[in-house]
Symmetry: C2
């Protein structure tokens, strides 16, 4: 009975809190925000330009530079209080000529298969690499096979994403160690190269690239790393069962250059009451090079720009300073996110909230929050306001890679959580293109982000030094 | 305070009910259902066959017949207790040669535009129809213009779907009267034909067909009706502003034949405890002819078949008799739905529950229920079981066209509610094809439906004559 009483008190308190927050003014404001995004949105046009006029925006590329210039110029059009570029040095890695690979089952018997170099990989020798293949189900398998069975071979990491996980990001998280650390680990056993099953739940012919690291492997011991499509991986695996001595050939001439100058693109509406307290909304402007980076993360960039545009259009003057930050180099370095956070610390800027959209431009389902119980409870009390827009999922968990470096125990971090089912069909692959983004889904995401930023701006976070008054 | 007390009692009752229902057995069963669908599902393969081997399945077509034979044969493979065909006479309307249309702005100055005949329309004369156009925003506009301005012209219904409505089905519901009744109403004012803006929120070049009716218009006064793509409608509308006297030409040779024999396809697992109480899960096997009917409603059919397959695979023996019904002729007659209900009434079969999936194979978001408060409260108490699968939306409202005729004040009717944002990009258009369906989204829908059927079977509805014991 005691438990029930506590429960009832908690519920009563919850309901009161809810009633307090969910007032008609907020409800109307959210409706205006969604109307602006759906009826007079700019996010889709911006994405069209980023994707179709510029294209893939790998850090250090001419396209990344064009994207910096374009978004800076578009933000300047919005009449924000400030727009500037924040310099950051970024790695420059290029894919070079298209990769080439085949499976050889006998003299002259070859089957071409689709691969792509992993981002950061060293090239193969000019003539390529041809070697036997050892299939493993993960990094931990290497020790089981040992140097005897691995040396001189290509290690083929083939643990698939788990299809029974409903959230596909969990399935991704359960596999991506193979891509990230596969080469450095396999090199320890004398492997001559690695190929990794693409991080994709769908069976198709597209290889998916992504970041990998050599850790502290000395340069002369670094082995080339490539991704193979899911269909290619299945074919290779089944062929290995019949002919374990088959050989795999691949050739790639990717290359790492010296770091180059690039920029985070930042725009700000200065707060009317608390100009020295900052809220950030952002995505990352760089992308991989195989597609045009529409979902990852052109969508997050244009949605973040749209947040500030909507505030301007609705003539909403935020209490806090609100910044849109288009981070550079999330994919292969996170230099932009680190730079933004270190500059903020240097300038002693109080950041109270940051929201990132970097999970695709699909129908928004909710948010994930990296914060304490008190702030989470306040945010949860706003759920009824989001109900008319089918935004139901408010969970505790991660936020976003770029805003992660801001974490200081006080700032509330959040990530937009769109429907995840189709995301990895496109992620880091040639199919991450504009046509895979639905205009309404993109716009609903922008409106959902704007709504959250509005509420946090209005009510403040529970751990601001100066409490927000309403 | 009194209100609060009532509220708290309601909540307490709700929580107790919830605790009672959400037990571990159910939780495990749902996990098994989702695993079976995601890891060993058949829905996607079935849909592949229906879409790619058979194609569009308009009532009375050879493809509809093939689909009847195919699904009957697949259901027989499942080892159900009964599989049979329920005869039903259906209308037969054929599109004939591809339609042809252009906008004429002067002698020899024509712009071809994409149209398609609406389902059930009469043809144009062999030479087509050419006439001036009057643009209206809806049926109610006709009276404003009157016979003077309408007679001898083509009426162009151009009220678009409202983009600010979050649920796109609501936007569709707000426009579809133009398509359904546009011809019969315009004929009263002496119009010679109608063209209707496609029911599509996206700007593209695809015309979307769909059912229309002449009501009691005498055959010699029936005028041809066509849909124009959204891009075409915008172009026509803007051209009319410059040149109100432009002429529109269109030609179509669609034709209505005598009714032909067809079938509902039915499979049954006979109930272990209540063999004479029936639960139905279904979709419609017919489709329009422009695409292959993957979303509308191949998806609903294969998901419904999957419900029974999953029960068989998991060796779950339902208490009630569970039928999968693949209804014929939802699109242009609803003969299958009516036939099933009338036969059920004739045989005095007690139907306690029916679930339809006819809103596309997209990520499931929840269900809509046509039932009383008591049943709805019971179903809502199951919400926590669905939470791990991101199924949040349990609303009161409509269910599905095919199961509608079963309504008798007792049977609980339900409709699966997938994400609606992309649905009308494909609905009744050439883009309703297999590649627009995501395997996981389809499978999640099937698992969600199976889970609901399982829970209703286990706990019964609150208005069953004999109460279900657990």
């Amino acid at each position: 009975m005691k438990k029930l009483t506590v429960l009832l008190i908690t519920i009563t308190f919850g309901l009161q809190l809810q009633a307090q927050k969910v007032n008609q003014e907020d409800s109307l404001m959210l409706r205006n925000i969604y109307d602006m995004s759906l009826l007079n949105g700019k996010s889709y046009d911006w994405l069209d330009y980023l994707s179709n006029e510029i294209g893939g925006r790998l850090s250090g590329s001419i396209q990344a530079e064009q994207a910096v210039n374009y978004t800076e110029s578009e933000l300047k059009e919005l009449g924000l209080d400030k727009v500037w570029l924040q310099p950051v040095m970024v790695p420059k890695w290029t894919r070079g000529l298209p990769e080439y690979a085949y499976i050889e089952t006998g003299p002259g018997k070859t089957t071409i298969t689709n691969i792509c170099a992993l981002g950061g990989s060293v090239p193969t020798p000019d003539g390529g690499i041809k070697a036997q293949v050892i299939e493993v189900q993960g990094l931990e398998d290497l020790a089981n096979y040992g140097r005897d069975q691995i040396e001189g071979k290509i290690v083929f990491y083939n643990r698939p994403m788990q299809a029974d996980l409903i959230n596909t990001f969990e399935a991704y998280g359960g596999c991506v160690d193979q891509r990230y650390a596969g080469a450095m680990e396999a090199a320890k056993y004398g492997a001559v190269g690695i190929i990794v099953r693409s991080m994709n739940l769908r069976n198709d012919d597209l290889p998916h690239t992504g970041a990998m690291s050599y850790g502290d492997t000395p340069p002369d011991q670094r082995i080339p790393a490539a991704a193979i499509s899911t269909n290619g991986a299945d074919f290779l695996s089944s062929t290995l069962k019949i002919l374990p001595t088959l050989k795999f050939y691949f050739k790639q001439n990717c290359r790492t250059f010296d770091d180059v100058q690039s920029y985070n693109v930042i725009g700000e509406i200065t707060g009317s009451t608390y100009p020295d307290k900052y809220m950030v909304v952002g995505g990352h402007l760089d992308s991989w090079d195989l597609g045009d980076g529409s979902h990852d993360d052109g969508a997050g960039c244009v949605q973040s720009m749209e947040v500030l545009r909507i505030f301007k259009e609705l003539n909403y003057k935020p209490k806090h300073s609100i910044r849109v930050v288009l981070f550079m180099n999330e994919e292969n370095g996170l230099r932009g996110g680190r730079k933004y956070a270190s500059e903020a610390k240097l300038k002693n800027e109080e950041h109270i909230f940051a929201l990132e959209s970097d999970a695709g431009g699909f129908t928004p389902r909710g948010f994930s929050f990296d914060t304490d119980a008190e702030n989470f409870a306040q945010i949860e009390s706003w759920k009824p306001l989001f109900e008319p827009y089918y935004i139901h999922s408010f969970t505790k968990g991660g936020s976003g890679a770029d805003i992660g470096p801001l974490k200081d125990g006080k700032v509330v971090l959040a990530g937009l959580r769109p429907d995840s089912q189709r995301y990895f069909d496109h992620h880091h692959a040639a199919s991450d293109t504009f046509d895979a983004v639905n205009k309404r889904e993109l716009e609903l995401g922008a409106a959902t982000m704007t709504s959250l930023i509005y509420l946090v701006d209005k009510y403040g976070t529970t751990n601001e030094v100066t409490k927000v008054k309403n």
